[in-house]
Symmetry: C2
Subunit: 484 residues, 2 copies
């Protein structure tokens, strides 16, 4: 059969090149049985004319389809669907349930959908004044070298390293780099056996909580603190203590006896950005020793410290192995990367690794190797340096605009980071303000999600400068101030 050019039409929403769209149409048509072995394809001349694309585009697409054995070529007579082309059975669904007849309320044994997480519109990038936190800045990212590092990770040389299924280890190149280069910068000495790679810091915190906590145990977290952690701890059904936070970080004196694990962000408190001073750190470690609890240190964003030199990690002061350290690469690269790690004594790493194997096996090998390459060649630190420079500039602009418009910063001075923690007048419900600001093109983050939901103030908010151009900050702040 001769396939008519009319069988081809271009989808304006197709993601990819014209050549790829032709490959897509032909291969999926063959797989679905619309085009059959022996069918003759339109000549490149006819198809290019019909689609309004260049003839070479069609020829290149046919060439690719040839090498995947979808097509074969019979010299001057043209291209045909190959007799040995990949085929797939397509089954008509016997039953298409219009609506499920199962009572899911009864079937679902455990619910998780009630958790509160910071929300952002999915088209946040189209807002001009996007004071939202933790998204990659397209203009600062090093696309070129990141792609080169990914390509190398996908090369034939590294194939078995990145494709194998392994539970008992991680990418040795990445673990070596973390041990030799990353951790010393935080004052931490660790052997490879004491490091576990995780699917981002969230996954690291989750794994630690599963191992350390049970329904009969007690955990403490900072209030305000990281909402992703609150969801984790609530799901363990442990007893959860809300620890107070002041200008020096978590206040340990008020912790009740019998607490088993304290989760803290000493270097850069979430969300107020304060750094815990040395004296408080020593005090916290003494308190932990006396009361026999362990500390899970989430060292997120330590790299972005452009204002003051960074303090070493809490774990660097830990002589007992009492501090479990959580780090992340997603913050400085991009959140969709999902790569973090835990540093802890071996008996704990062994359990974390076993649990990780059941839950997800391991973080994808190609991501681990890509990051290892990017780190090893110095691109990572060059990127962090570029980000720090940009963030320092944005912060100066933002501080000026905040002062000019009389907004209130609710934190002491910090070493850096990518946001300000703000307080609106007491009678303001910031969620309503945030809704109104959206219509003006301004995105801010209401702060109640960081607090114990039983007792969350409504007038705090976070203003991040990691995804907003410096030139737009002043106008954005003016718009926010106009709402109070």
């Amino acid at each position: 059969m001769q396939i008519a050019p009319d069988a081809f039409f271009l989808d304006p929403h197709y993601k990819g090149s014209l050549q790829q769209q032709i490959q897509h149409i032909v291969s999926q048509g063959i797989l679905a049985g619309r085009f059959n072995p022996g069918d003759k394809l339109p000549s490149s001349r006819k198809l290019s004319h019909h689609l309004g694309v260049s003839r070479i585009t069609v020829t290149l697409a046919y060439g690719e389809l040839l090498s995947d054995d979808y097509l074969c070529s019979r010299g001057r007579s043209g291209y045909f669907v190959s007799q040995s082309a990949p085929r797939r059975a397509v089954f008509e669904p016997t039953a298409q349930p219009d609506r499920p007849t199962i009572e899911w309320n009864r079937v679902i044994g455990q619910r998780y959908s009630s958790q509160v997480l910071p929300e952002k519109p999915s088209d946040w990038q189209n807002y001009p004044y996007r004071f939202i936190y933790g998204q990659a800045d397209y203009t600062l990212f090093d696309h070129h070298n990141w792609r080169l590092c990914a390509l190398q990770a996908l090369g034939k040389k590294d194939f078995s390293d990145v494709t194998s299924d392994y539970y008992e280890r991680d990418d040795p190149e990445l673990v070596k780099f973390i041990a030799l280069y990353t951790l010393p910068r935080r004052g931490i000495f660790a052997r490879p056996e004491e490091i576990l790679v995780t699917l981002g810091a969230q996954n690291a915190l989750w794994l630690c909580a599963q191992i350390l906590l049970t329904q009969r145990r007690t955990a403490a977290m900072e209030n305000p603190g990281y909402p992703g952690l609150r969801a984790i701890l609530e799901q363990t059904r442990c007893k959860l203590i809300q620890a107070q936070v002041d200008d020096e970080g978590i206040v340990y004196e008020g912790l009740p006896e019998g607490v088993d694990a304290v989760f803290a962000t000493p270097s850069h408190h979430c969300p107020t950005n304060v750094t815990m001073p040395l004296e408080r750190r020593q005090g916290l470690l003494d308190h932990a020793r006396k009361n026999e609890y362990v500390i899970v240190e989430d060292d997120y964003e330590f790299e972005i410290s452009f204002a003051k030199p960074p303090a070493p990690a809490l774990k660097s002061l830990d002589s007992e192995g009492r501090v479990i350290y959580v780090g992340s690469f997603s913050k400085s690269l991009y959140p969709g990367l999902r790569l973090g790690y835990v540093v802890a004594p071996e008996p704990l790493i062994r359990e974390l690794r076993a649990l990780r194997a059941t839950v997800l096996r391991h973080p994808p090998g190609q991501i681990q190797r890509t990051v290892a390459n990017f780190l090893s060649l110095g691109h990572y630190d060059a990127l962090v340096a570029r980000m720090s420079q940009a963030f320092a500039n944005r912060r100066t602009v933002m501080r000026g605009a905040i002062a000019e418009h009389g907004l209130t910063v609710a934190q002491s001075d910090t070493a850096g980071g990518s946001s300000f923690w703000m307080r609106a007048p007491d009678d303001v419900d910031i969620e309503e303000t945030a809704q109104r600001l959206r219509t003006l093109g301004v995105l801010i983050e209401p702060g109640h999600v960081f607090f114990d939901p039983k007792d969350a103030p409504r007038n705090f908010y976070r203003l991040a400068y990691s995804s907003v151009e410096a030139s737009r900050i002043a106008e954005g702040i003016r718009l926010i101030a106009s709402q109070f």
Copy 2:
């Protein structure tokens, strides 16, 4: 200061090019404070002479370091460490715990390290007769197009899609492809809202188990069955029923009343490879309806059905939304990819998604988009076709060798797959045999890990042909037979 060429030495174990090794030495030297701003680098002539590499290699490395601002160039006077080069504080660890003083036995609340998983030596690829299961075959993989698809996923155009942090959705391109092209081939009709992308099938099964089961609920799994699933179900502390398996798959008649969820592999039972006939499928669905349980269908490896046309999925017969379907791309691509999906009614997907957000947020965006591209251009099915052809050939060779040497196949004929399920004489402990075979360069998989550990026979084993060349199969089988 002039940096002497002696500061450079090449590591013969370095993974990467000579140029990259020079970039690594310089960037890490600067970051660690061994080289300081203003220091002059060896000339490309001197350094190339010292290292025994070409001068252009050094020049290219210096050029890359220039663009990352590690170096600056002062015309004819050469290269210097940049005044604004990325720096990092390095802290001496205050405390280096020789051994942790924490009693980890007391601190660890929940243990996971006792699970039994199939083991393989980490250097399995160096064994000539590697009858092990589920590893990617280097010689069949389409490196070229895979890398192109990864490159495209990492392009500027897709940047925000792959880098964003999102909980509430997956890559729309991947989900669309699964709904429109992958599932119809299994006879399944599903809307995007009924699909959740997971970190491999293991992660999909784990998520389902968490939602469906509690300590008060009952699950059934096949015996023998998938050991990764057994670990998952044991960790939920539900009541676990071992369901019998015969030549037609799981035997549902023996299931006790009150079972809440049955986990099965109808299309391709693990590990015996049998396909459940239509009548048994209808019976299983009727039984599920009558006894009000849900079925989790693990449709692993359905694509590798070269011997007979594949049967549609059990879910295609499901008119109630009672079957939860688990699929995977890792089997045909490579296990280290970690990408699978769940198809289920929306109320369940909502809970699975919320749990996934707490545990790991989402599978990395760049992996999702790379697979979407590879699928969309037809490369995936071309790869599966190539694999099927190779596997069909290897299976023929293996069947012949097995017959010639009088080994016993413990399964009925199957539609395909990548392994034979085998039985050694009753008095053989196959683990001992496997140990002896290793010394002969032969890797086989003892079968006890697939059985309920309380009552596991010691004489079953699995012989996979997915990672062994056809030319080596006969000799490998001869060596195995020589042990009985």
